[in-house]
Point group: C2
Chain length 294, copies 2
């Protein structure tokens, strides 16, 4: 076993897709000196060169095959609808005993799509860092994006304990806390705490008559901030996790039916209790993350 | 006309209800030296004394009659369901040619309730500063709460241009931009940009399975922040503005029906367009207020 693995340091890490997340992963690895070399892989040469110049990458290429050829670890940071194909293609060119992880906001669709199709010399450990922003692109990348954030790892049937441990350690080294759950559980969780809120924020923006928007104060801005997210990325996420999002929407609709009745009655004490229960839960959640940037 | 009016300075200003907003009004007046004396009126002696000590008030009393007896201006900062009665009672004890304004989040219910019942020597000019917080109480008051915020003034049929101007100048002196509209228009606006978002945030918190809350990241926290607001205050607001809130909820439900269909189809291009329109509007809104405190 080479020295690098024992020390938790990697020789070559390839990052496929150098946007907000990919750029942040690269910057985080380089800032913490966790690899000898970070190679960025993408389509946009201008952005890749910018990311290299900014210090997020050591080098870059537009060829997936070339970029991953020596990569002990490949981190796939492309949109969720491209991750599975990207993993399958990258694996063909990766060296023996190498690892792939990803940052996709959905997990089951990817796990199902790659299942049984990976070559024996590559192990894929699915992951999802619960970090991000309504912004996108390498220009908004941040080497501390994963600090004090949670990363969900969803082991597959073919994962080895050694592979799992190395990927857990990778994310821990970037400052995150790693949690494990099944891909199905992850997708239900993500639907509830991320995908549904996004959809509701977008619906709220759309439902607001334009003439009132100039009066929107901090409450409205907070409530709708996530709706500024990239529509292409979010379409892919919502479609990939369609069933769980629909289920979350059902649960949500029950609350709307309930409050609509309380308003129609009108039932003051009932409404106050309905609001008080929400307040109690929201208070327990705290005001924000220490690394929040709004 | 006494010198004080010419210079835009008040002799005595009474503030009824010294919580987050009332305390901030008092602090703003005193910091800007806009009055000779600021008198706080409330029930909780401990909070009133704290507010005086903190510099939000010059003096305080628990007697409404005493507190407003010499007040050229009374600012009513009690919950919306108590404002109308408070105005009617205060007016009985106020001096000749005095003014009342308020900070209620709803306007029509108050205007209707006081219409034709005020004595001739007092003029009431309804107002609503679009500022606030999910926090409450004088401990969170801030003399700069109204800086760069909008204050909506909703003139009644009995308002004089002189009275209206003095109240507009009062809020302008606190750092706000003043807008005028009808009480009905205000209430529809407030339902769309404040009351509905509050209700939706509360519903989202309630609809989220408890076991997923520990995974809530900044997106969920932003989207639900307003749900931490005081349930008693918000029940009063939602009931006072019930019809406009119900109408806003209808508009909103149309968006949910739309996105539900797009998910069910599934219609990727349609969903992306639906999200893109929301993103465009949200972008135009900007990321937040300069004086945001989260």
């Amino acid at each position: 076993m080479p020295q690098s693995r024992v020390s938790g340091k990697w020789q070559v890490v390839a990052i496929v897709g150098v946007g907000l997340i990919g750029g942040s992963v690269g910057g985080a690895i380089r800032q913490r000196k966790l690899a000898e070399q970070v190679i960025g892989i993408g389509h946009n040469e201008h952005e890749l060169e910018w990311a290299r110049h900014r210090g997020w990458l050591d080098t870059w290429t537009t060829s997936l095959a070339e970029g991953v050829r020596q990569a002990e670890l490949t981190v796939v940071c492309v949109p969720v609808d491209q991750i599975a194909n990207c993993i399958l293609e990258a694996a063909q060119h990766m060296p023996a005993n190498s690892l792939i992880t990803d940052v996709g906001s959905t997990k089951r669709n990817i796990v199902v799509a790659v299942e049984g199709k990976l070559p024996g010399w590559v192990e894929y450990v699915p992951a999802h860092p619960l970090a991000g922003s309504e912004k996108s692109g390498p220009y908004h990348a941040d080497p501390d994006l994963f600090v004090q954030r949670q990363v969900i790892v969803t082991p597959t049937r073919s994962n080895t304990s050694a592979g799992l441990l190395r990927i857990r350690n990778f994310w821990t080294a970037l400052g995150s806390t790693v949690q494990q759950m099944s891909a199905e559980e992850h997708d239900r969780m993500a639907a509830a705490i991320s995908h549904l809120p996004h959809l509701l924020a977008a619906a709220l923006v759309r439902a607001t008559p334009r003439q009132w928007l100039p009066f929107a104060a901090s409450g409205f801005r907070d409530t709708t901030r996530v709706a500024a997210g990239d529509p292409r990325l979010w379409t892919a996420i919502l479609l990939a996790n369609r069933e769980a999002v629909q289920q979350a929407l059902e649960l949500w609709e029950q609350q709307i039916v309930m409050v609509r009745r309380l308003l129609e009655a009108p039932d003051g004490p009932g409404l106050q209790q309905w609001l008080a229960q929400a307040q109690q839960v929201r208070h327990a959640l705290g005001s924000g993350n220490p690394t929040d940037r709004t």
